[in-house]
Point group: C2
Chain length 103, copies 2
């Protein structure tokens, strides 16, 4: 299983509409990727290690697929539509990582 994580880093002037992301963007991604998408997760940053410290990321989104190839096959045909939706919820340029799920 692989996990595609999308990180939205916090910073001066950065914004993120978590409502739009959860209610519109992620369901759209789910619909476009179809059965190849095995699961998804979304988190909103609260803090660093200690209460009151700044969270490095305003939000993170995660998509699970059987393999990196399954992700590329399901995602790339819809890349323009998915990326075109990003400015509707954030002005952050996301960082993306593909990881192997170990536990």
């Amino acid at each position: 299983m692989i996990k595609v994580s999308v990180f939205y880093a916090s910073g001066e002037g950065k914004n993120f509409d978590i409502g739009y992301y959860c209610e519109k963007h992620m369901p759209m991604v789910q619909r476009l990727c179809g059965a190849a998408l095995k699961g998804m997760a979304v988190e909103r940053g609260l803090s660093g290690m200690t209460a009151g410290s700044a969270a490095p990321f305003l939000a993170m989104g995660h998509l699970y697929f059987d393999s990196a190839e399954a992700f590329q096959s399901a995602f790339e045909p819809h890349l323009n539509e998915i990326m075109g939706d990003v400015p509707k919820y954030t002005n952050i340029q996301p960082t993306i990582q593909i990881s192997e799920v170990k536990i």
Copy 2:
């Protein structure tokens, strides 16, 4: 539900023993935190968005608790023991974030 994510950033000269982390470190954290720990996850970085590009993080570890307060209560009494184990598997100074689980 909250998620405590620990990010181990990649970089020149950085190393991470994923075997030790999965087989020794995370089970130790689980034992020390007890029933307050509701779940955990570990990922190993494979790449960025495209195959062959560098992964921003060599590894990530995640711990789930009912609340930030439940995390602090369960984790802080064992902070020294847990942090003292870190040099056994990596030379990376981790970044930590507490997030609210939305999906």
